[in-house]
C-alpha cells in the first residue's frame, strides 16, 4: 500500500466540494422537473388518449346475434324457421397465414371459389377476433372430415349456428322470400351497428319487407381479455332481443292446392280474404327452393335457376304483367252502367265482328259466327267482344281509364311486400308521354276487351275483383296479420279501406252476369259449376301472346306452346255473400274456361268447405 502524505488545503477542498454539491443538486432538481413535465404530459394531456388505449387493450365487445322471427301461416304452421346447423368459422386474429389456411381448407372440404372470395371480401367488416362463417350447413361427413384435422387449423372451428329454413320450399319461395348473406351493396345501405354479428339479410318477399321486424337486436358481451386475447371475465352482458314472429293470412294448404292445380302450367294464383283483405293464396309458378340461397347458392344451381325459360325467380303475382283479356269486361260493363252509356237491357247485334265508322278494319269477336242479339248480362256470360267494343267506344278512353283506375288498375295495391308492379292502364296522357302519339279510337276498342296496352298483375286482378264483390269496398291486400314480439302482440293495421261509389242496381247486373258465367248453360265457365251449396261468380279471360293478322286463323294445335294464349279467370264466392276472391293466370293455358277456372274452383271449394 502506497500512501502519499499530501499537505491538503482543507478550506479549499471544502469549498470545492460544497460548490460541486450545490451544482449537482441543482442539476438533479432540473432533471426531476424534466421528469415531472413528462409525467404531466402523459398523465394529464395524454390521459384521454392513453385511457382509451388501455380500454381498447383489454375490453373486447363481442356481439350475440339475435334469433330471427319465425313466420307462421294462418293456422300456425311454420313457413320459415331457424334450424341449428354446423358451420365452419374462422377467427382471423388467430390465423397466422390466411391464404395458406384457406387453401388447405379447400383441399379438405369442398369450398367453392365464390365462398372463399366472399369471405375475403367481407372479413374486414368484422373485428379481428370475430368468428366469421366460411362454410354453412356442413354435412355430417364434412364435420367429421374437419374434426380429424382440426388441430392443424388454429383459429378455424366448427360452430353450431341457426340457419334459416323454409320447410315448404317452392310453395312459399316468392311470398315468404329468402334470406341470404349480406352483400357489399346492402352493406352500404344498412347500419353497421344494427347488423353487428348478423350475417344474413332478407333478400326477397316478406323476409325483405319485414326485415326490421324479423331481425331483432344484437346483444353484446363486454369481455375483458388479457394480452394473449384470452377472456378473463365478462364485464357486461346485454342480451339480444329476438325478432318478432309473423303470423300470415296465408293458408299453406290452399297454397298447395293452388300450386298443384296449376299442374304443368306456369302462372299465378291469388286469393284474398274479402273480409280482412288478407292474402290467402299467393302462388307464383315456376318456383324454386329458397333454401338453396340461404347457405350461398352454387354457381351451377344459380345458373340453372336464373337461366331457366320458366323464370322461377320471377314473382308473377307482384310483377307478372298480363293483358287482362276478357276478365276486364265486368269492369268495363260497370263503367258503362255507371256512366249511363247503356241501359241494363239495351241490346246490340253481334255479327262476329265490329267496324269503326268509315273504316275497313274488322275487329273480330272470338266467336266467328257472332253472338246475335246481346244485352250486357249476356255479353258478360258469353264474353261477347263486339258488345264491349261498342261500349268502350261510346264511353271513350278518358272515362274508361279513370273508372278502371278506381279499381286499382294501373297503380300499386299497396301490398306489404316490396317490388310490386303498378301494371299499366293506358290513357290519352300516358300515350302522349310514353309513345309520343295521339290516342286512336281503335285502341279504345281493344282496351274495352282487355287487350292492347293494358297490363295487370295477378294481384291487381284479384284486388279489383274484390272491390266488385265487396260492393265497392277496397282493402289493400296484405300478408302479415300479427307481429308477435317477446313482450307484446301487434296486430298489423291495414287502414286503407276505401270505397268506390257504385249504384247497387248496376252492380247487381254485373254480378248476376258473373254468376251466370259459371251457373248458366251458356256460361263460359259452366264446367266448374258442379254441385255446391253456394254459387261462384266469375269471369274467364284469354290474353293474346301472339297477335293474329287480319284474315288469319288462330289454330291452337299449330302454334308452339309458348305462343299460346294465357288463360285467365277471376272469381268470388259465395256469390250472394262473398268471402273469397280468386284470380288465376295460367300462362299459355289457351282458355280461361278450361284451364284457369278449375284452378280457382279448387281453391274456392276447399276454402268454403273449411268455412262450414
Amino acid at each position: 500500500m502506497r500512501r502519499h502524505q499530501v499537505i491538503k488545503d482543507v478550506f479549499l477542498e471544502n469549498r470545492i466540494f460544497l460548490s460541486r454539491t450545490v451544482v449537482m443538486f441543482v442539476l438533479m432538481l432540473f432533471l426531476i422537473v424534466g421528469l415531472i413535465t413528462r409525467l404531466v404530459y402523459l398523465q394529464v394531456s395524454g390521459h384521454d388518449k392513453y385511457h382509451s388505449m388501455a380500454t381498447n387493450n383489454r375490453i373486447k365487445v363481442s356481439s350475440i346475434p339475435p334469433t330471427r322471427g319465425i313466420i307462421y301461416d294462418k293456422k300456425g304452421r311454420v313457413l320459415a324457421e331457424n334450424l341449428p346447423s354446423y358451420s365452419l368459422e374462422v377467427i382471423p386474429e388467430q390465423v397466422k397465414d390466411m391464404p395458406n389456411t384457406l387453401l388447405r381448407l379447400q383441399q379438405i372440404l369442398n369450398i367453392s371459389e365464390e365462398k372463399i372470395t366472399y369471405f375475403q371480401k367481407h372479413s374486414n367488416r368484422y373485428k379481428r377476433f370475430d368468428s366469421i362463417p366460411l362454410l354453412l350447413k356442413m354435412s355430417a361427413e364434412e364435420v367429421a372430415k374437419f374434426a380429424v384435422v382440426r388441430h392443424t387449423f388454429p383459429g378455424v372451428d366448427i360452430h353450431a349456428r341457426l340457419i334459416r329454413h323454409y320447410p315448404y320450399k317452392e310453395l312459399t319461395a316468392h311470398a315468404v322470400g329468402y334470406l341470404g348473406r349480406i352483400n357489399s351493396r346492402e352493406l352500404k345501405r344498412v347500419s353497421a351497428t344494427e347488423y353487428r354479428g348478423i350475417h344474413f339479410i332478407g333478400k326477397t318477399g316478406l323476409e325483405s319487407a319485414y326485415e326490421d321486424t324479423l331481425r331483432g337486436y344484437t346483444g353484446y358481451a363486454e369481455i375483458e381479455t388479457n394480452a394473449q386475447g384470452k377472456p378473463i371475465k365478462t364485464l357486461a352482458n346485454i342480451m339480444p332481443t329476438p325478432g318478432a314472429d309473423l303470423y300470415l293470412s296465408l293458408d299453406i294448404d290452399l297454397q298447395k292446392i293452388a300450386y298443384d292445380a296449376l299442374a304443368e302450367y306456369n302462372g299465378a294464383v291469388v286469393a284474398l280474404d274479402l273480409e280482412s283483405g288478407g292474402i290467402i293464396v299467393q302462388v307464383s309458378k315456376a318456383s324454386f327452393d329458397p333454401n338453396l340461397f340461404v347457405s350461398g347458392i352454387s354457381h351451377a344451381d344459380y345458373k340453372r335457376i336464373n337461366h331457366s325459360r320458366d323464370m322461377p325467380l320471377f314473382d308473377r303475382v307482384l310483377r307478372g304483367l298480363y293483358p287482362p283479356g276478357s276478365t276486364l269486361k265486368p269492369f268495363v260493363g260497370l263503367a258503362g252502367l255507371e256512366h249511363k252509356v247503356v241501359q241494363k237491357q239495351q241490346k246490340l247485334f253481334c255479327p262476329g265482328y265490329y267496324q269503326l265508322p268509315h273504316k275497313a278494319h274488322k275487329y273480330r269477336d272470338w266467336k266467328k259466327r257472332g253472338h246475335g242479339m246481346v244485352n250486357l248480362e249476356k255479353a258478360i256470360v258469353e264474353s261477347c267482344d263486339v258488345y264491349f267494343y261498342d261500349m268502350a267506344l261510346t264511353l271513350g278512353i278518358d272515362k274508361l281509364s279513370s273508372f278502371l283506375n278506381d279499381f286499382g288498375f294501373g297503380k300499386r295495391s299497396g301490398v306489404d311486400l316490396n317490388g310490386e308492379s303498378a301494371g299499366l292502364l293506358p290513357s290519352r296522357e300516358w300515350k302522349r308521354i310514353h309513345k309520343n302519339t295521339i290516342w286512336y279510337p281503335g285502341e279504345t276498342l281493344i282496351t274495352g276487351i282487355g287487350q292492347g296496352f293494358t297490363q295487370v298483375t295477378p294481384l291487381q286482378l284479384a284486388y279489383a275483383t274484390g272491390i266488385l264483390a265487396n260492393n265497392g269496398k277496397s282493402i289493400a291486400p296484405f300478408l302479415v296479420e300479427r307481429k308477435v314480439y317477446v313482450d307484446r302482440v301487434d296486430k298489423v293495421k291495414h287502414p286503407q279501406v276505401k270505397k268506390v261509389n257504385l249504384k247497387a242496381d248496376n252492380l247487381a247486373v254485373i254480378r248476376k252476369g258473373m254468376v251466370n258465367v259459371v251457373h248458366s248453360a251458356r256460361g263460359t265457365a259452366r264446367l266448374i259449376a258442379g254441385k255446391r251449396t253456394y254459387q261462384i261468380a266469375g269471369k274467364t279471360g284469354t290474353a293474346q301472346v301472339y297477335s293474329i293478322k287480319q284474315d288469319e286463323e288462330y289454330d291452337e294445335e299449330e302454334i308452339a306452346f309458348n305462343m299460346r294464349d294465357h288463360a285467365l279467370f277471376i272469381a268470388y264466392a259465395p256469390a250472394d255473400n262473398p268471402k273469397i276472391v280468386v284470380a288465376v293466370i295460367a300462362e299459355h293455358g289457351s282458355h280461361g274456361s278450361s284451364t284457369a277456372a278449375p284452378i280457382a274452383s279448387a281453391v274456392i271449394t276447399e276454402y268454403l268447405k273449411e268455412g262450414e
Binding site: 488545503d9 398523465q43 392513453y50
Partner: protein
C-alpha cells in the same frame, strides 16, 4: 443542520432513538428507505397477483440487505478506505471469472454461481467509487492531469468488462459512479466539457463495434416506438399507455389493468414505475419523486458534513449513483431515454441491486455517525 438537530432532540429521550443512534442508524434516511420498501411490497403484491411466494423472496432479500446495511453502518469510514484496493481487485477478478465461466441468461453472461447466483458487476458499483475516492483522497484536490488519467483507467477496466457481458445498464452505473467521484473532487469544468464532446464523438464507434443488435434495437425503437408497435416498440408503448391511463389520481391500488392482464411486460422489475403511475397517478408519482428527492438531499447533506476527503467523495458518488438509478429508470419508462436494464431503486423486484443500494446507504450512515467530536 437544523433538521439534524431537531431530529436528534426528538429522539433524545426515547428508548428507540437511543437504540438507533447506538446502532449508527441515520433516522431520516432510514424512514425514507422504509417508505420505499413498503411501497415495493405494495407494488409487488399488486403486480404479482397476490403471489406470497414472490413477496417472501423479496422480503428475505430486504432482510439480508438491511442486515448488511446495519452492519456496514457499524464500521468506521476508515475501514472502507483501508479495504478499497482489495475490494476493487476482487471485483475485477470476479468480472473476469464471469466472462470466463459465467452463467448465461437472456443472451448475456452476467451471473456467477458460487452456491448462489449473483452478479459481480453489482459489487463494482460500490468498489469502483471506493477505489477512485481512495486514490484521489491521497492526492491533491483538485486532481492533476496525471491522476485523472489513472482514475479513468481505474474506471474503464470494470466498465469495459461489464460492457462485454453485455450489460449496458450496469456498466453505465459503474462508469458514472467512478466519474462522479472525479466530479466531486473538483475536476475542472474545462475537462468536463471536453469529456462530453469526446463521448459524443465516441458514440458512433461504440454503436458499430460494441453494441449488440438488441441494444441497437432498443435505441431505434426509443427514437420511434410506433414503427413496430407489436414488436420492438411494444414495451414502451404499453408503458406509456399504463402511465397515461393512470391520469392525475390513478386507478387505485391493485386496479391496474395494463400489467394484471399481461399487456405490460417486465412489470415487476424494470417497468414497475409504470404500474405505480397507473395505480397512483400523477399525484402518487410526485409523492414518490419527493421521497427519492429527500433521500438524495439527505445523502448530499451527509456528504457535505463528512469530515474527510475519502468519505466526502464516496458519499457524494454513492448518492449520485442512486440518483442516476432513479432518473434513468423513470426516463426509460416514460419514454424519454432508450430502454436500458436499470431497475427502479428499492422498488423493483430483484435482489442484487437492493443489496448494493442498501450497502451504499450503510456506508453513508457510517460516514454520518462516526464523526470525531470537533471543538466548536
Amino acid at each position: 443542520m437544523h433538521v439534524e438537530l431537531r431530529a436528534e432532540q426528538f429522539h433524545k429521550h426515547s428508548l428507540m432513538g437511543d437504540l438507533l443512534r447506538k446502532l449508527h442508524i441515520d433516522i431520516p434516511l432510514l424512514c425514507a428507505l422504509l417508505i420505499l420498501l413498503v411501497l415495493s411490497f405494495m407494488m409487488l403484491y399488486s403486480v404479482g397477483g397476490q403471489d406470497w411466494g414472490l413477496l417472501m423472496r423479496q422480503a428475505s432479500r430486504m432482510g439480508v440487505s438491511c442486515v448488511l446495511m446495519i452492519f456496514l453502518a457499524q464500521l468506521e469510514p476508515r475501514q472502507f478506505q483501508r479495504y478499497s484496493i482489495p475490494f476493487y481487485i476482487l471485483g475485477i477478478i470476479l468480472l473476469i471469472a464471469v466472462l470466463a465461466a459465467g452463467e448465461v441468461g437472456k443472451g448475456a453472461q452476467r451471473w456467477l454461481n458460487i452456491g448462489f447466483r449473483f452478479q459481480p458487476s453489482e459489487m463494482l458499483k460500490i468498489s469502483t467509487p471506493m477505489m477512485v475516492a481512495w486514490y484521489l483522497a491521497g492526492h491533491e484536490i483538485p486532481p492533476k492531469w496525471k491522476h485523472i488519467v489513472i482514475v479513468l483507467v481505474l474506471i474503464m477496466v470494470p466498465t469495459l468488462l461489464i460492457v462485454r457481458q453485455p450489460d449496458l445498464g450496469t456498466s453505465l452505473l459503474v462508469a458514472s459512479s467512478g466519474l462522479s467521484v472525479l466530479y466531486f473532487a473538483g475536476l475542472s469544468w474545462r475537462y468536463l466539457v471536453s469529456a462530453v464532446i469526446g463521448i459524443s464523438a465516441f458514440t458512433p464507434i461504440y454503436w458499430h463495434y460494441f453494441m449488440r443488435s438488441y441494444q441497437k434495437d432498443r435505441v431505434t425503437t426509443f427514437l420511434n416506438p410506433e414503427s413496430d408497435p407489436m414488436g420492438k416498440g411494444y414495451h414502451i408503448i404499453q408503458s406509456k399507455i399504463a402511465i397515461g391511463s393512470g391520469g392525475v389520481s390513478g386507478k387505485g391500488w391493485q386496479e391496474n389493468t395494463q400489467s394484471q392482464l399481461d399487456f405490460l411486460p417486465e412489470s415487476s422489475t424494470d417497468f414497475i414505475f409504470a404500474v405505480f403511475a397507473e395505480e397512483f397517478g400523477l399525484l402518487g408519482c410526485l409523492a414518490l419523486l419527493l421521497v427519492y428527492l429527500f433521500i438524495i438531499a439527505r445523502g448530499l447533506y451527509i456528504a457535505v458534513q463528512a469530515q474527510d476527503t475519502y468519505s466526502r467523495l464516496l458519499a457524494g458518488s454513492l448518492i449520485c449513483t442512486f440518483f442516476i438509478y432513479v432518473f434513468v429508470n423513470i426516463s426509460m419508462v416514460v419514454g424519454i431515454l432508450p430502454v436500458v436494464g436499470i431497475p427502479l431503486p428499492l422498488i423493483s423486484y430483484g435482489g442484487t441491486s437492493m443489496v448494493t443500494l442498501l450497502a451504499g446507504f450503510g456506508i453513508l450512515m457510517s460516514i454520518h455517525t462516526h464523526k470525531k467530536v470537533l471543538p466548536s
